[in-house]
Symmetry: C2
Subunit: 462 residues, 2 copies
């Protein structure tokens, strides 16, 4: 964790932004995989980390703004806890680490909230995504499970987003570390991609490196010869010469800051002519988008720059036709690029996704689109210095979608449907890098990782 | 999954055992780490796997015994699902894989249950451990969430335990695979344990190997220089020459059968004299316990054989004194061996732990003890051919516990408290192997993995 003053400052700024009432923060609990005590790697809630820095399960916090009181709730360790889990600090010791000097047991949460209800205080909480938190809120507030999320506080969400959106130098240093670990994961992925090994074999090496670096993966490793499937899981199928692999993976540091990179490369290092052409369209779109990053530009417009570059390339390739800008404005490119160009990144790989994309990626005057394609653009708003984000254009050849559009004759003035059959088995390609928005433009995060055809084909194996 | 007939036979046997009413089975859902869509590795519920073999999230099943009807509940994939997750089978196709020909949407579960309630059918379900399942049951049955677990069906639990306790040849073949992957994990752990690398560095390699083999870890990797802490997490502390490392780790296969091995070994391969002495006491206890495995013996008695061996060794070491059998019957050994000798293993590493240890590890005439030490013995009952279990004695030097006992003068006729100070920093040692109970005795599962001092010290590094 950072120094205690940082957490106190963050909480003070939050209290000011929220104004009045009480704020409930829930740390995450351990989750059992196949029975209660066989748990996944513990992941603390990111806003809890941001405002308290405490990376332990079974904690909650109450900030009573009206009484200027901060309370940490947790249960004291027993001798059984010490036998099974080692020497444990007391709740008082844990609280002191984040500058809180009032503690109580978790069971007191209901009592505290009832007092606030009785005195008609506003009760603020963030939208819960873990079922344990939903159960707790349902019980404490006496509302049905399915009404808990709806009761989350927009004021609190805005207050949290207003701070977490701007990364401090300390945070940027952590993100640089995360990206550099991610770089090592990608180099290992390229080097181990050879005929005869399975996708899971390589994905296991990639995930192991994230763990070995002291943190964890920031999100499930995508390592697949079916890059057209955006969130594919690695399989036990063996790689074949000539296949194109898409690897989207990133580490989070021990402090839980994320990196998020994608590279696309051939099994056995040699691109086919067609793979090279498609890959270079994506790479050029990525570079054009990155070069346009600066404070003041809307990320929606950066997205559209990338889309135009993709359409230009697809026209050269013979898959598209017509006016580029019109094709993009009509959404014709979404047959091949169905998603958004990128997202904010920080303590979450999709930073603050739990708080709602409208709050995080858009602004009050800019409502997120519901159209196919743009509805998956997580970030659309005007960029500001201190934002950290990804740029990740791609081309994805999804047979089911191509068939659907072709059957409808959809946007046939822009798409050469007769040329699609050669791409049914192509897969997909994506290039993704992470950037900080600076006062004057942008800065690549982490050391540069190879991405040109020449560099990928020339990578020494071991 | 195995052939469809196996699942049909298992369900038929279960229907017979339960007799009447309806049975609700809940598959697991994905769980978000730090927001809803950033999920952990999906782990299906083990009983759902056992009776249906379907390894996908968001499924449920209803078996109406009275009407001899089996229904699989799931939601059909949308075009968005295909874009993001690839070609998806329909629920009908999924159901057919397990021999079920009636399907409906997940929302129908409440309707089906209401019909059963109205016609006064008994409703059987297993104790839930995931909060998502607790929420569903609370809603469907209109009971408060904290009363859901109490309503689980003892009849159903017994019916499930009666089948899952006896491993078939196909299951044993899977467990052998899991143990052999676990062997590779341990060899890598020993080879990478060198001064200057962190615990997490080695633990990451170990976990990566489990993933690379196509499945996952069967439980969180324990790799620690504080082996006295039974469920320690690896840290970012660097290993030092002279330290003793305890590694407890195992893989699960792609079909989710577990292996569970522990080895204890020195950083840089060379045991100190004291480490060698303690380690060999543990090893002898493990071998004595394993050699006594056979149908008809109570595992409680195997546990006590190991405890006596440990006390004999501790007497030789000067830490204990007095009559061995009396020391064990008084529980004096629990200062150094605080837990149980082993547990059932199968689709769960602690097999069926979610169903309750009294049902799985004990019998109607044999109630699990509440005493310190024996309360942690997960398996006590008479062994039968077809059981698969672990044997894992250890010696754990826990300063807080030694101080507590010494202050009380507890069982001081058996413990040489003045000798303990030399062991405050020792740590802990454990050896664990996995066995099948056969008609005549036992069989080691997996290939033998080195465990003698000579073999560990002599292991070639790379
Ligand atoms: Mn991304
Ligand atoms: Mn075990």
């Amino acid at each position: 964790m950072f120094s205690v003053d940082i957490y106190k400052q963050r909480r003070n700024a939050l209290k000011k932004a929220v104004g009045k009432g009480i704020i409930l923060f829930f740390g995450n609990e351990e989750v059992g995989m196949n029975y209660k005590d066989n748990t996944y790697h513990f992941r603390q809630d990111s806003s809890f980390l941001y405002f308290f820095g405490l990376d332990k399960p079974n904690l909650a916090a109450v900030i009573n703004i009206d009484e200027d009181l901060e309370i940490l709730l947790g249960n004291e360790p027993t001798i059984d806890d010490i036998v099974w889990m080692g020497t444990q600090p007391s709740v008082t010791e844990i609280a002191a680490q984040t500058g809180i000097f009032k503690v109580t047991g978790l069971r007191e949460l209901g009592v505290l909230v009832k007092k606030s209800v009785a005195s008609r205080q506003e009760i603020h909480y963030l939208p819960p995504y873990r079922s344990e938190t939903i159960i707790k809120l349902s019980e404490i507030l006496s509302v049905p499970f399915d009404q808990v999320k709806g009761g989350a506080s927009a004021t609190l969400i805005k207050g949290v987003v207003a701070q977490r959106s701007y990364k401090s130098d300390l945070e940027i240093a952590e993100i640089n570390k995360a990206v550099n670990i991610s770089n090592e994961m990608h180099l290992a992925a390229m080097r181990h991609s050879a005929e005869g090994v399975t996708e899971k074999y390589v994905a296991g090496i990639v995930e192991g490196l994230a763990l070995s670096a002291g943190g964890n993966i920031a999100y499930p490793v995508i390592y697949t010869v079916n890059g057209q499937t955006l969130h594919n899981h690695p399989t036990n199928n063996k790689l074949k010469k000539g296949q194109l692999v898409l690897c989207d993976s990133g580490a989070e540091t021990p402090t839980h800051y994320a990196g998020d990179l994608t590279r696309t490369f051939p099994v056995n290092q040699k691109f086919s002519q067609l793979q090279k052409q498609v890959y270079q369209i994506v790479l050029q779109a990525e570079e054009a988008a990155a070069n346009s990053l600066k404070p003041g530009i809307r990320f929606l417009d950066v997205h559209l720059i990338a889309c135009e570059k993709l359409v230009e390339g697809l026209k050269d390739l013979g898959l598209m036709k017509g006016d580029v800008k019109e094709a993009v404005s009509r959404g014709a490119h979404t047959l091949f690029f169905q998603c958004g160009l990128g997202h904010m990144m920080g303590l979450d790989v999709h930073d603050m996704e739990d708080l709602g994309e409208q709050y995080v990626g858009y602004s009050e005057g800019m409502i997120k689109s519901k159209e196919f394609g743009l509805k998956s653009l997580r970030l659309g708003r005007e960029l500001e210095s201190g934002f950290v984000l990804t740029v990740e254009p791609g081309l994805y050849f999804i047979p089911e979608l191509m068939d659907m559009w072709q059957a409808e004759g959809k946007l046939k003035d822009f798409i050469n449907y007769d040329k699609l059959s050669a791409f049914r088995d192509f897969g997909g390609a994506r290039v993704e890098e992470n950037f900080l928005i600076t006062d004057n433009g942008y800065q690549l995060l982490g050391e540069p990782l190879i991405k040109s055809v020449v560099d990928i084909e020339g990578l020494s194996r071991f």
